[in-house]
Amino acid sequence: MPDQVKLKIEDRDVTVDKGQTILDAALKLGIIVPTFCWDPRLKPIAACRMCLVEVEKAPKLVPSCAVPAIEGMVVKVFSEKAIRGRKAVLEFILSNHPLDCPTCDKGGECILQDHTFNHGPTGSRTIEPRNRTIFDEKYKFDDFPLGPVIWLNMNRCIFCFKCTRIIKEIAGDDDLGAFNRGYHTILHGHKNRPFRSEFSGNTVENCPVGALVANSFRYKVRSWLLKKTPSVCHLCGDGCNITLWHQGQKLFRIYSRWNRNVDNGLLCDRGRFGGLYADSDRRLRNPKIRREGKLIDTTWEEALDFVAGNLESIRAKFTAAGIGVIGNEMLSNEETYLLSRIARRVIGTNNIDFRFEDKFTPSTDLNLKLLYFLVKRIPFSKFGEFRNHLIIGTDTEVTHPIMTLWLKRAISSGRSKCYAAYHRKTDFTLHPVESIEYFPQGEYNFLLALYSALKGKSIDESALASGVASTLIQRWAELLKGSKTLLLAGEALYNNPRGSENIDLLKAICDLLGEGSVINIPYDGSNYLGNLLWGATPGILPGGSQNDEENRSIICKEWKCDNLPEAGGMDTSQMLTAASEGKMGALIFFGSDPVGFYPDREIATKAVQNASFKVACETFLTETGKLCDAVLPLAPFPECSGSLISSEGRLQFFEKAFDPAYSSAEGWRIILRLAQRLGFEGDYSSPSEIWSEMASIADKCGKVDYKQSQYGGQFLKMDFAARAFSNLDGFQSSPLPSPTAEFPMILTYGASVYQKRNLTAYAESMDKIDPGPKLYINPDNAAKMKLYEGDTVRVSSTKGSLTMKSAFDYRIRPGTVFIPTNFQEAEFNSLLSSKSDLTFVKIERL
């Protein structure tokens, strides 16, 4: 075979692909060559020299990690010369490594310790002090914070350069660099700034020694005392595989669990450090019920009886349609299914929804349209096969950090190109991608312009309406035409007043592009897809089928009941509007916080206040919970078991690390106990029992094949029928309302890179990474307003006004301002109104 080479390692023959290194060949044989700087994801640099092996006829020892295998090579790993060489290298590395293993947090899991034990010299020949004489005063100390979450001890560093290479080659940023030369090398963020990156935690995980230590783990516990539980990250739709390191009921850190198809051993800081929110001591500890206007602690029995009794009486008074359930997209499949079942079967209402952060949630019809795209979706690992990636309506680095790394990998391989369109420059725009910034909510006009450009029609009108130069769109159309393209449609497309038209246009654009073009919908939220498929929306039943007569009868048979409530039912916006008018009897919030996040604080507050009875089930006491009649403590993800369907369409199960802390309880158990008090006869002892029931329903519905999987073990095969896409001839561009003289700026809002709602803010290091709410504004706009960074400004709209600090961000489109939604104290939604599409604000300097 021409593409394979045969070589001999330790007198054993091995055949590897051409271009693979000696180390790969040795690993194939199961021969362990010690390494420090080698990492399969990074380009070999052969810096540590720990992997030296002897090759016959080579004058010197060769580093096996960097030298490609050649036909007929004879390699000796354990010859005397090779062992002597490696021992010498290890002695050099150790000659300046401080002997502070007792105080080093890497002690016990340190690769240098392991290698010294296995290969190293037994004694030391150095008598000189073991600290680096480094020019910078700061570095002479033992350790100091390098950035908000990471501490650096330069004395311990062995210069494998894994950290800088991970940031440079994988994350594609220049946030961390090595400075000075030789023995005096130091690590630092560029331009003397502290080191901060969305992926900074990976440097800690991959540091072979204790040079880089996470702030949240420093001086906390010894690693050998910790138990490891495999789990899945809940903080975005990527579904990264993680390992929870915990002792007793305390979660100490989150490491990657290296799933080659999903995360490739990488985690974002949101997942790694933000996930520690579960360990916060500000959690709700006991169930609370409102007595004499105050929330007081009580027992579970009492609280559940109180809730069930009230719901019974409300059902009698308002009928079942007067009760609404609002879940959230982080609930597991089992919890969603149970919630759907209690709403539809036990309470008897279709008023169930899980989206509470968006004004324009997709209708049932649009949802079914979107589900069709899942049939042909592409796993992350195949992104590199596409010539072009067209990202519309999302900042993937915020919503899907790890998916972005796959995109970056596709770009940096040189085969793919990226096109990103959003109402601001995305974080991703820092990389060699083509970027377009249209008006906020200009998605429809932009898509229409792109469609017309591909069709060869005039685009001037629609391009003008979208706020993009028509030549730029023409250029994109030319570049994209005929090429195999992956279209990534962000939530701004379907969470949009013109969501349905947008998707029609997107489908048409996809058809116009080259053969093999595919639309992927990266849903934002760890189990958005699971919530859709397991019936957490009014129009879709568990199993993923539409809520119609025929499908209801299938479910009825499974649930052993005569009938389910007729089609209809309200989504979150409708429920809240109805409740604010006093038309709703009871509202059940399951991990949701409409007062804090629904984009109209006035309506949400009124709704919660005006409903006769409201109960919240949540981990931390939220703004909504403060207004509720009963608050039940919900256990966060390390304390629950269940399954998630990531936005990639991958089914992943996770196990609980330990029992719920304090008096909190798993979600499914709370729902089940509540349902039993409301007359539900069934009982489950574990989520796997619920799953087996769900599997049989899914089997009957036949939409998603939970048994079959293509690859990666859990990549679900889906089968949804295509919906009718409307005729595009009648589509006309629709100019957006323009800002008035009084309110000249457009307000945009969204999540920040490091945060998931307000949950992650409870994690220890998060206030350092992402401190406080800020108003982000384009420097050009700010200059016109004579505004400096850090000034206190007042933002006012027709609804209200807020006071916060300003920050500059050149990525913001001129004429718009951006407020991150993660800070409850900011109350960003008090500026918004559900009645208007866009919010205009004015900025005053205080």
């Binding site: 020299r49 010498a88 050099f92």
Partner: protein, 427 residues
């Protein structure tokens, strides 16, 4: 002294101006090469002349050029290594300052021979005047049509860029030099792949020393046989010997290969200053093994010095008289390497530092008797285990110093006083 080649017009005023250079027969070789030779023939000619690299390793230049992959759709780059920072070597500086056009002419011919259209001249950061001279020479040459599009009507295009280094010794190493041009920290790369296959921006790259390239016009003018007839059998041509240290007349001497070291020191250098006795000579720049006074009857060419266990290197001859303390001298050398190590690979980064610490301790009178063996062992552990030759360059003098002046090291470690007046040719 009569048959100087490179330094023939070195004393000629205005030799750095193109008019004078052309008057003295300059750019004839370029015309000849472009008219009479095909690129492949030029490579053959250089191969036949036996020209060897003057940067230190002495690799045959023609052979290096012929390693370039044929029929590749990637561009080929030529880099002129003018990052001359070896202690004791100062020949390229004079070549660039006084005769930049000679280098330029050689560069254009070499680029033509290897079909390269973009040349980088990597000049050491400290050589500000050299960079000025070269850039002026390029301007002059391009105004005469020797550089740029369609050179002399031959259809051959060439651009020459000057890249000034940041002043690091490691940038003289070819892979670090390429990293530096690419805009990264100058950390040397693992070889293979060799630069001729995958070099600058992963394209085939040839890197030649200033002196090597300066020889090329003369080979074209006078023929390969003429060049091969000068010097020894395998080391041909002339060599610029940089004589420094405790000699009466230090400086650059262009002599045929194979001149005797004794002749070089006593005849051309005028003997040792203040008529001290000779103690030791480093024959080829700081990174080669040292020679004792009784070993100087050696011919200065690649083979003869290799026989003596040393190397010609870049022919930077450093002479040390009888009053020199070898431990102090070695510490100065090692300190230089510790400071200049790039820090990429562990043996070099930690080893040079460790050796420096041991030597400093010895000089402070805190040496232990076992330190001499420890020092030797550390040096022998560095050799062969590093990415680039800098580690070897640091370890080789240490080993040779200890081997040849063991008694001094033992004396100082046994509590004795340092020998001599602790003076060293370079500070």
């Amino acid at each position: 002294m009569t048959n100087k080649i490179l330094f023939k017009y070195i004393d000629h005023p205005d030799q750095d101006k193109i008019a004078t250079y052309i008057e003295n027969g300059g750019y004839l070789a370029l015309r000849k090469a472009l008219k009479e030779f095909k690129p492949e023939e030029l490579v053959e000619l250089i191969k036949k002349s036996g020209l060897r690299g003057r940067g230190g390793a002495g690799f045959p230049t023609g052979l290096k050029w012929s390693f370039l992959p044929k029929n590749m759709n990637k561009p080929i780059y030529l880099i002129i290594n003018a990052d001359e920072s070896e202690p004791g070597t100062f020949k390229d500086r004079q070549l660039m300052e006084y005769n930049p056009h000679q280098l330029l002419e050689g560069t254009i011919i070499a680029a033509y021979a290897i079909k390269c259209h973009l040349v980088f001249i990597y000049i050491r950061g400290e050589f500000a005047y050299c960079a000025q001279q070269i850039s002026r020479a390029i301007q002059e040459a391009s105004s005469h049509g020797f550089v740029g599009k369609n050179i002399l009507g031959s259809g051959f295009d060439l651009d020459i860029h000057i890249y000034r280094g940041g002043g690091a010794y490691i940038c003289g190493e070819e892979t670090s030099l390429m990293e530096s041009i690419e805009g990264r920290r100058a950390l040397s790369r693992q070889k293979p792949p060799f630069p001729a296959i995958e070099g600058l921006w992963a394209c085939p790259t040839i890197i030649n020393n200033v002196e090597t390239i300066s020889n090329i016009p003369h080979i074209i003018n006078n023929g390969a046989e003429w060049f091969a007839s000068i010097g020894m059998a395998k080391s041909v041509g002339t060599k610029i010997y940089c004589l420094s240290g405790h000699v009466k007349r230090p400086g650059n001497y262009e002599l045929p290969m194979g001149v005797s070291l004794r002749e070089l020191i006593y005849e051309y250098g005028g003997g040792i200053i203040d008529d001290y006795a000779l103690k030791a000579v480093i024959p080829g720049g700081s990174s080669v093994p040292i020679l004792r006074a009784d070993e100087i009857d050696v011919k200065m060419d690649f083979e003869s010095l290799a026989e003596k266990g040393s190397m010609l290197g870049s022919a930077g001859v450093i002479v040390m008289h009888d009053g020199t303390c070898m431990v102090a001298a070695l510490q100065k050398l090692v300190k230089f390497y510790e400071h200049e190590s790039c820090g990429k690979c562990s043996p070099c980064r930690e080893g040079t530092n460790w050796m420096n610490k041991i030597l400093k301790r010895m000089l402070a009178g805190e040496g232990r008797p076992e330190d001499v063996d420890l020092l030797y062992d550390v040096a022998s552990n560095i050799i062969g285990n590093t990415v680039c030759p800098l580690g070897d360059a640091a370890a080789m003098p240490v080993m040779s110093f200890i081997r040849k002046f063991r008694d001094e090291f033992d004396n100082i470690c046994g509590g004795g006083k340092p020998y001599g007046t602790i003076s060293f040719p370079f500070r």
